[in-house]
Symmetry: C2
């Protein structure tokens, strides 16, 4: 590494983020199954803003004010919400030109946690290469924050982190001495040739199957169906307009 | 899984332990480079008790009372201590029949954190098979607690966790649905055929090299040079007498 290079770190849990926080770093928040995939889908389908909120109470307050609210806990749509956490809920007829309030088990908390860094973007396989290209242009230190599952490590977010690490390390500007980043890359190298098969053993894949919510797996693992990059501006997510 | 089986989970950081704590589980604390390797070495060389303490202040108090004190932070021996964290410090002439007070950057905190579980044992490659055999006999849920580095994930503790997961899953009594356990096993399967080579990329390996403290690497990665199992009894570690 040299002083002119930028570091890549991977944080496996929101509970570990305080040990990774860097004011000048860009944070990529990911929650592959399903929040960050759903957010990318919403922007692909023309949503104007997404307001991520941490608590059920906040989501309810927004609902009472007349907002469209997507909210789930443990995979299930909350009773007061308009819909839940499946990317398929965020169809063009529902979301186009709308502002949506969004609260999930893991992902939306992680977004808030990162908001004191230089920039917070939302990454998923759906916008993988767009995410990497933008990160390469920034030439800043990068922290990939995996939303995990209730503060535990999860494999699917880690694999996505590994996919980013792989692409960034092809650029000599970046380096990593982070064991989590190296572990993510090694796991990605095992999984990448048959991601759907590898994902079979993950806890969240089995949780979604048990709850009959697993129709989204293949979609959420599809790379590069959009080049939109959701970015946090204050308390809402919007699409990044100027990507360089 | 069935009700009669026992689960295996891997916790990658002391900061995540609250999400893994189970009162009835056995916790295996590991800090391969170097605390848990040093503890196993000390018992192999006849130490009677090791009192793990969390803070430098506690270690100093014990020193003032006349105890033999091993204490380090960031790899370096503290000025008031008798010696530091290298397994080579714990030679028979120094430790035989002694009680040693021990405080390290990561490992001794992790030991204290786990003390509300059913049993806390200390695992390292040095006592790998003894650890696995004892765990198999207990038929209890198992949490492998990686000491990590300042609450961050590290690879060497994860590989050791993977080595345990591999052996335990050969016994039909055990199962895992823990993504951290599956990741540990996958990483172990990459690394195990040339552990010394794999360890080259880890942060702690490079930290130790930089500080000229890397003479212990090969020793710390040597499997099964002892069948002693250090166990926490109240506030001190002792050797497990009845291993079945």
């Amino acid at each position: 590494m040299s002083d002119s290079q930028s570091s890549i770190e991977v944080c496996f849990s929101p509970a570990l983020y305080p040990f990774f926080h860097q004011k000048k770093a860009v944070v990529v928040v990911t929650d592959i199954l399903r929040a960050s995939s759903a957010i990318c889908t919403a922007f692909m389908h023309g949503v104007e803003k997404i307001i991520p909120v941490e608590t059920i109470e906040e989501a309810k307050l927004y609902k009472n004010k007349g907002f469209l609210v997507a909210a789930e806990r443990d995979g299930f749509v909350l009773d007061f919400a308009d819909f839940g956490n499946s990317p398929f809920n965020f169809s063009p007829s529902v979301v186009k030109n709308k502002t949506i309030v969004y609260s999930t088990t893991n992902g939306t908390q992680a977004i808030h946690m990162a908001n004191k860094s230089s920039e917070v973007i939302i990454g998923s396989f759906l916008n993988l290469t767009a995410t990497c290209n933008w990160l390469i242009n920034q030439q800043k230190n990068i922290v990939i924050l995996c939303a995990g599952w209730k503060n535990k490590f999860n494999l699917e977010d880690t694999l996505f982190a590994g996919a980013i690490v792989e692409q960034l390390l092809l650029d000599k500007h970046f380096y990593t001495i982070c064991d989590s980043a190296n572990a993510s890359l090694d796991l990605w190298n095992i999984a990448k040739h048959n991601l759907i098969h590898y994902i079979e053993k993950t806890a969240q894949r089995n949780r979604l199957r048990k709850n009959k919510l697993d129709d989204v797996i293949e979609f959420c693992l599809t790379p590069n169906i959009t080049d939109i990059l959701p970015v946090l501006r204050g308390d809402f997510l919007t699409r990044m307009e100027n990507k360089v």
